[in-house]
């Protein structure tokens, strides 16, 4: 149980430091808990780590995921049909931290977290060794309550910034960023795309003027080619819909292997 004395935020920092030391991009993998079925999640998460995943984002399914494209929407609907709850997500995270000492975050919408109560959420995450949350419908303007509950436990809420975020907003908000900064690569919802968003390099450069934290790029990142194109731009990449697509396409017995190999290809593409 010694690992539990290390808090989740330290695991995040360690994950980026390790990738940097290995001269590659950190790979953040998103997986909707309970997709395609409840029993699939645990082996898939381990396969993702075996493939070299640095940080795991556990997707908390929500009935109305308004920042997500069709892939995550469908995964979310499937997970809810499978009866997945926030407790299940925290339990998966706790297992992964205990067994693999992994850097784990929850990614989910405001309402399930709000319903749980931010204080209780904080103590549950802390007990599980989960680093914190990413909440796509909670901009800095609405985060004060959650931040107050998270601060004493050292938990982090990772902010998202978008190509539409103006410089003055970055200057105002980035000083309070914790853990790492998540840049949305495109103007739109999640989902695999053929090409990288045209504004991503500009956004990362604008962000770096206001922070020394590691910068990860997500939304739309789907292929090793995308990852390779971000070498020298970002510190990490976050891949979600493409991961779900790989799992969804594979035959049931091959899912874990397909995911491990896909993650490995992303990790390799990020080496300089």
């Amino acid at each position: 149980m010694a690992t539990l004395t290390v808090d989740g935020k330290v695991r995040l920092e360690r994950a980026f430091a390790k990738a940097r030391a290995e001269r590659r991009l950190a790979v953040v993998v998103y997986l909707t808990v309970g997709y395609p079925d409840r029993d699939a999640t645990a082996p898939l998460l381990r396969a993702a780590l075996d493939g070299g995943t640095d940080i795991v984002e556990l997707g908390v399914p929500f009935s109305d995921p308004l920042a997500d494209g069709s892939t995550v929407q469908r995964a979310s609907e499937t997970a809810l049909r499978n009866g997945v709850t926030l407790d299940d997500c925290i339990r998966e995270g706790a297992d992964l931290v205990r067994e693999r000492d992994a850097a784990v975050q929850l990614m989910g919408y405001t309402n399930p977290f709000y319903r749980r109560g931010y204080e209780r959420l904080a103590s549950d995450l802390r007990a599980a060794g989960i680093a914190g949350v990413i909440v796509p419908d909670m901009p800095a303007e609405e985060s004060a309550e959650l931040d107050r509950s998270f601060a004493p436990s050292g938990l982090v809420r990772v902010d998202l910034y978008a190509p539409t975020t103006p410089d003055e907003r970055l200057a105002r908000l980035l000083p309070s960023a914790r853990g790492f900064v998540y840049c949305v690569s495109l103007t739109g919802v999640t989902g695999a795309r053929d090409r990288l968003g045209p504004d991503v390099g500009d956004l990362v450069a604008r962000v770096r003027r206001h922070t020394t934290l590691p910068v990860a790029v997500g939304f739309g990142i789907a292929t090793p080619t995308h990852v390779a194109a971000l070498r020298g731009v970002a510190d990490g990449v976050a891949v979600g819909s493409a991961v779900l697509d790989v799992i969804g396409r594979a035959a049931v017995p091959d899912r874990a292997t397909a995911l491990r190999d896909f993650v490995r290809s992303l990790v390799e593409a990020g080496r300089s």
């Binding site: 109305d64 308004l66 919408y109 309402n111 909670m138 902010d159 539409t164 975020t165 907003r169």
Partner: protein, 390 residues
């Protein structure tokens, strides 16, 4: 209300970061427009010449006798162009979009009334209009789909979630996130992130201003009770806003009780919901213990929504407005009652307010003057009612 769009602890802007600059820009544009006399004059002119305002106040004396009240007056939003109050807001926002230089409009619709109003306003002003509508609602409200197409709008079906209004809003927001630089989101109720609840209320406040003046002129006093149906709550905020400062006037919102609150199959977010965050605002929301948004039920598609405007949540908490619910069965009775006594076929939404009249008599006595917001006409609901009464 503060400038950050909060009503007590309700309201706010729970949105993806991508949209945060856009809602800031919208807030500034709206503040600027409502201070600009040229804008308000053009809005007023079109309300008169195109919408047909002011809508009349009708004395419903046979209805009043039937339900045992001294006086019932109806604010006739059913006589506004396109058949409901929705046109007031659609026109106001379409004018604002044009002023902002945004020529691509997206909107959501449930029953189709807001979609038709948005399509009509866009046709009038020469704007491109895309309306998102759940596949379940497309099936239930086919004539309105055809009307929107005639008016030049593109109707996009949403085959996700419960395939109704809430999913149409999700999809409209996704479109907005993707095309935010060129696109204006024309939201149809007093829900969503700030500034929508305040802006939609302001565009609908013409209902309350007219009704207050008309009632005083006709009756020589204010009504004792003002009643309106509440889904998202735009017709109610519109008429209530004219009377909020009149502390002696009782305000009453009627939610969709569906098959009864205890059945769990209803759309009464205030009477049966809990605090939560949906579609960009903190309000009262129908949800599970795990924070998932629940599917709703109402005979009236326009009230079939699991949330309610944040200002309503606040007015409920402060006690300024009393919220009750009436069931599908009661609404159908109200629908027939008004048709039979006054020669007016109401939409199923305000039929819930009509159905509340006997309860208002029970609560406030027979010597009561009640003003009802008759938010829309019932043509769109004839199929539903025929099925139910067969």
């Amino acid at each position: 209300m503060s400038t950050t769009g909060r009503y007590g602890r309700f309201g706010g802007q729970y949105l993806p970061e991508t949209l945060m600059p856009a809602v800031g820009e919208l807030e500034r544009a709206f503040d600027d427009a409502r201070r600009d006399e040229a804008f308000t004059q053009e809005f007023d002119r079109l309300l008169r010449e195109w919408v047909g305002r002011p809508t009349p106040l009708t004395d419903a004396s046979r209805l009043a006798r039937e339900v045992g009240l001294r006086r019932v007056t109806l604010k006739r939003e059913d006589l506004a162009h396109t058949g409901a109050h929705k046109i007031n807001n659609a026109l106001g926002q379409a004018l604002l979009a044009k002023r902002m230089g945004k020529h691509r409009i997206v909107a959501e619709t449930g029953a189709g009334q807001h979609g038709v109003a948005a399509a009509a306003a866009c046709a009038l002003l020469g704007l491109e209009c895309i309306v998102y509508m759940g596949t379940e609602d497309v099936r239930r409200q086919h004539p309105n789909v055809f009307r929107m197409k005639l008016l030049g709008a593109e109707v996009r079906e949403v085959d996700a979630g419960s395939r109704t209004l809430k999913d149409a809003i999700n999809e409209a927001i996704r479109d907005w996130v993707t095309n935010v630089r060129t696109t204006y989101y024309l939201l149809g109720s007093v829900v969503g992130p700030h500034p929508y609840p305040a802006m939609v209320r302001d565009f609908q406040s013409v209902i309350g201003r007219e009704a207050r003046a008309q009632h005083v002129e006709r009756v020589g006093k204010l009504p004792d009770v003002v009643v309106a149906c509440v889904g998202g709550g735009s017709n109610a905020m519109g008429i209530f806003s004219g009377f909020i400062a009149d502390r002696d006037v009782k305000l009453r919102g009627v939610e969709a009780g569906g098959l009864g609150i205890e059945s769990g199959k209803h759309a009464a977010s205030i009477v049966g919901g809990r605090e939560g965050v949906l579609h960009g605002a903190r309000s009262l929301v129908l949800q599970t213990d795990d924070g998932q948004i629940r599917e709703t039920h109402s005979v009236s598609a326009g009230l079939d929504y699991p949330g309610v405007g944040p200002e309503h949540a606040y007015l409920h908490e402060t006690g300024r407005v009393r919220y009750v619910s009436r069931t599908d069965v009661e609404a159908l009775e109200g629908f027939q009652l008004l048709s039979r006594t006054e020669g007016i076929i109401p939409a199923l939404e305000p039929a819930h307010a009509i159905a509340d009249l006997p309860h208002i008599r029970d609560d406030h006595g027979a010597d009561t003057d009640v003003l009802v917001c008759l938010s829309g006409r019932g043509d769109k609901d004839l199929d539903t009612v025929m099925e139910r009464l067969a």
